[in-house]
Each structure stands twice: as C-alpha cells, then as structure tokens.
Symmetry: C2
DNA sequence: GTGGGCATGTGTCCATTATACACTTAGACG
DNA sequence: CGTCTAAGTGTATAATGGACACATGCCCAC
C-alpha cells in the first residue's frame, strides 16, 4: 500500500468478523444465529461476530467470537469473503470479514453467555428476518460449502469421529439437495482412500448394523 | 455483529486494498508492482494499493487504485482474500483486502502518476524483494488463478478481443507450467461453446495463417 | 424360534470423457 | 518452386461417471 500519507490521517472504518457456523441436524443444514439486543436491527437475528481487536489476527478474532457465542472450539474454520459496502451498517462504516465454521451436531452446547440475548440453530431453508446483509452472506457461505463438498473432504467438519457411510451420504444429500446413488457414492468415497473402516459396528438398531468409518486424518485436503 | 458497545468506542484498524494485476507477456506470467517511496520498506517493490475511503465499497476502492496506478479500467476484478495479522505492517494495524485483476498484454500503458515513484511488470518467477507480506499474497493469487483456469473461462481477462487458439493454449501452458496437447486442448476449448471463430485470419506472418477467435461474451462463467 | 421389517452392503454394463499420438496444409520468403 | 514455420485435423484406448436390483444381518413381535 502506498504511504505518502500518514497512516493515522485517514478516517478508519470499523472491522468485524462474522462467523457462519454450519451443522447438519434433523435432516437439515442449520446455521447458528444470535438475537441482537441493540439497535439497529434490535430483536433481529444475526450472525455471531464482533469487532476485531488490535492485537489479534482475523482468524483469531473468528475463533474467539465463535468460542464466546457458541462455546465450541477446534472447529474447521475458513475465511469466506469480506463485505464492505458503505451502507451495509446504517450507523457507520463497518467492513466485515466472514468465516465459515463447521461442527458435528453432537459437538455444540450453546452457552447463553456472550454478547447476545439468545442463540439457536436455524434451518437455512427457514431463516428468520436477518440483520444487515447477513442473508446475502449466508447464501454466499452455502454456495461455498456446496462447492467444496465436491472437491475436498470438508465434510469431515460436519461429522463426529466415527460415522457410517449412510450418515456421510445423507450430509451430502442434504447440503446438495439431491439424492445420490448408494453404490456409486460408496465407490467414490472409498476410492479417495481418506476414510477407513474402524471394524466396529453401529449397535442397538433394529436392522442390520452398519460399519463405522473414520477419517484417517482431520486435515481438509483437495481430493481431485 | 453484536452491538452492546458503542461502535465508535473501539480502536480501529486501517483498511487497505491491494491489487494483483496479472498479465501474460513474453512467455511469462507477470504482475504489476510499484516502488515505495516511504518507510517502511522504502525503495522496495510492493503491490499497488491504498486506503479504503469511507464512502466507497471495497470493489470500488480496488477499481480506483488500479486506475490510479496503472491507468487501466474495465478489467476483470475479483476479491481474493483478506490478510490481517497484527504485525504485517510494522507501523500500525493494517488489514488489507486483496483483489486479483487480469489484463491483456496490449491493454496497459502505465502512467507514472499515482502514489508510487515507479511501476513495472515483473515475472512472477523473478520477483524482487517485496514489502510487507506481499510475496505471500502473490503466491495466494497465483494459486487462485491456476485453479480458476481449470473450471472457468477466466482466461478471457488475459486475452485481447480476438486471438488464435495457439495464443490461448500458450497462456494456459505458461500459467500452469505444463505443456498441453494441441488437439486435445482445442477439442476441449471448442466443446465449451464459449468461443467462436471470427472468420478472419491472422495476417503478415511467415507461415500458415491462424484463425482468429473471440469469446462470445465477456462474462466469466464456470465451465463444468 | 420364526417370520417380517428395515437399512446395509455389493457388481456389472454402458456412456461419456480424458489421453496419447503424426501427418498434411497454407502462406511467406528467398 | 523449394523450404521454413506454425496451423489444423482424427482415431484408438483408458479412465471415469452413472444407471440399476437383490441378498444379508439384526431386532422385534408373535
């Protein structure tokens, strides 16, 4: 950046991070929202997020906000996009760096601490009225998630340590909104070599038990 | 974002945009750099960029900076990533939103106006010492460009209005650092239906003249 | 203890796509 | 008119993707 001017001379915008925490539950893709208790958009639902502090990186800010508002950590987290149109916040100029996080449905227990009055997971198909441009941001995140399902193993962020191939397939079907052929799906997943059969079986169900699988490692990688 | 605090209360970071303007010339992928005439990194080369103004969007800021420092407009432009580690600028906290722009090699005529003492295109294979984290940013941009060549027609940003299939293939080969089979390349490109033969031929060369093609429209689309 | 309910788990054929590979053609120039 | 140079073109093979149906194992009710 050019520096023929004093850095401190310009008026500076506020910078926030907003986090899209996705999970799959009850056959739906859900996202964590918090209820605002301030104007503007008082009583609207919004993405969890907050101001970036001067001594933390953007990733750290996202991690911190996620922990504060959902109580979970060590989730998959990736930066999505930065939204900065001048009028997106009616009070003042706010630029927001958005992140996507993924959690297995068993992993989260919402703390009611944090900045917000309330928090909950909402199906992305039935979202309430949202603050700011958060609806647009969520659409962007869903698109990114759909695309990445196709060429990475990002789905591991949505699954517990062990899972059946049917669990895995259902997540794909829910997010992609398509139905997939069981045999072809299994062939393709197993051909990547990224998951491994644990040898253990799912127990206590009234039908043939399924093999439990797990990811060989928890790193997200590109698969093709 | 939560607003239980006054928005104006927090100390705010500076926000800049930095632009990676790529072009292909003389068999190399090149990028526009400008010479800094201020500390820190005085006399180092750096990405063109500057502060985001309070009344312009991020896209507008990137477009403006590009025009100011290279004199070109109406280029393909996409947001890349936002870099914001606290120590990336030694003076103060600066968060930078990076953009990638593409130009055909004939399109640019550098103005020596703008913030910088000098400007020039450098091969990405022979970059000078760069200011800040700009080397890292450039690597990120090259990766994005390589990936997008594979599943979009983004290459149109690097080509003039009409071009031969050999021109097109060379750009792929230079950016991907591979050699491609001529027949297979043509089959694949033509099967997308995105380019069309103009009927005109390249003239004035000492060998068989090549057909000139052009993109049916200038929008970047996903091709598969 | 046996039969019904239910989700698991498995293979083949066909269509499409990707890859390897070499010679003829058209114009410029001497 | 012969030579130089890049343009332009087709086929055979391999790999991948997609459609498709039935037997298996466990629980549970009777």
């Amino acid at each position: 950046m050019p520096t023929k001017y004093d850095v401190t001379k310009y008026e500076r915008p506020s910078v926030t991070v907003d986090v899209l925490l996705f999970t799959v539950e009850e056959g739906e893709l859900k996202i964590l929202l918090v209820k605002r208790n301030e104007e503007p958009f008082w009583d609207c639902w919004a993405l969890p997020g907050g101001f970036v502090r001067m001594d933390e990186s953007l990733d750290e800010a996202a991690t911190r906000e996620l922990l504060e508002e959902s109580g979970v950590k060590d989730l998959y987290l990736e930066q999505l996009y930065t939204f900065g149109s001048p009028k997106r916040d009616p009070r003042t100029r706010v630029i927001t760096v958005t992140y996507m996080a993924l959690a297995a449905k068993t992993e989260w227990k919402l703390k009611s601490s944090g900045d917000a009055r309330g928090a909950g997971f909402f199906s992305v198909n039935k979202l309430p009225k949202l603050a700011f441009d958060h609806a647009e941001i969520i659409n962007y995140g869903i698109q990114r998630l759909r695309n990445k399902l196709g060429y990475t193993n990002i789905v591991l962020g949505l699954l517990p340590g062990s899972f059946t191939l049917t669990d895995l397939q259902k997540i794909y079907e829910i997010i992609l909104k398509t139905s997939l052929d069981k045999r072809n799906f299994r062939k393709k997943i197993l051909s990547t070599g990224l998951i491994t059969a644990s040898g253990k079986m799912l127990e206590g169900i009234a039908h043939r038990p399924a093999m439990l699988y797990s990811f060989k490692n928890k790193r997200v990688v590109v698969t093709d």
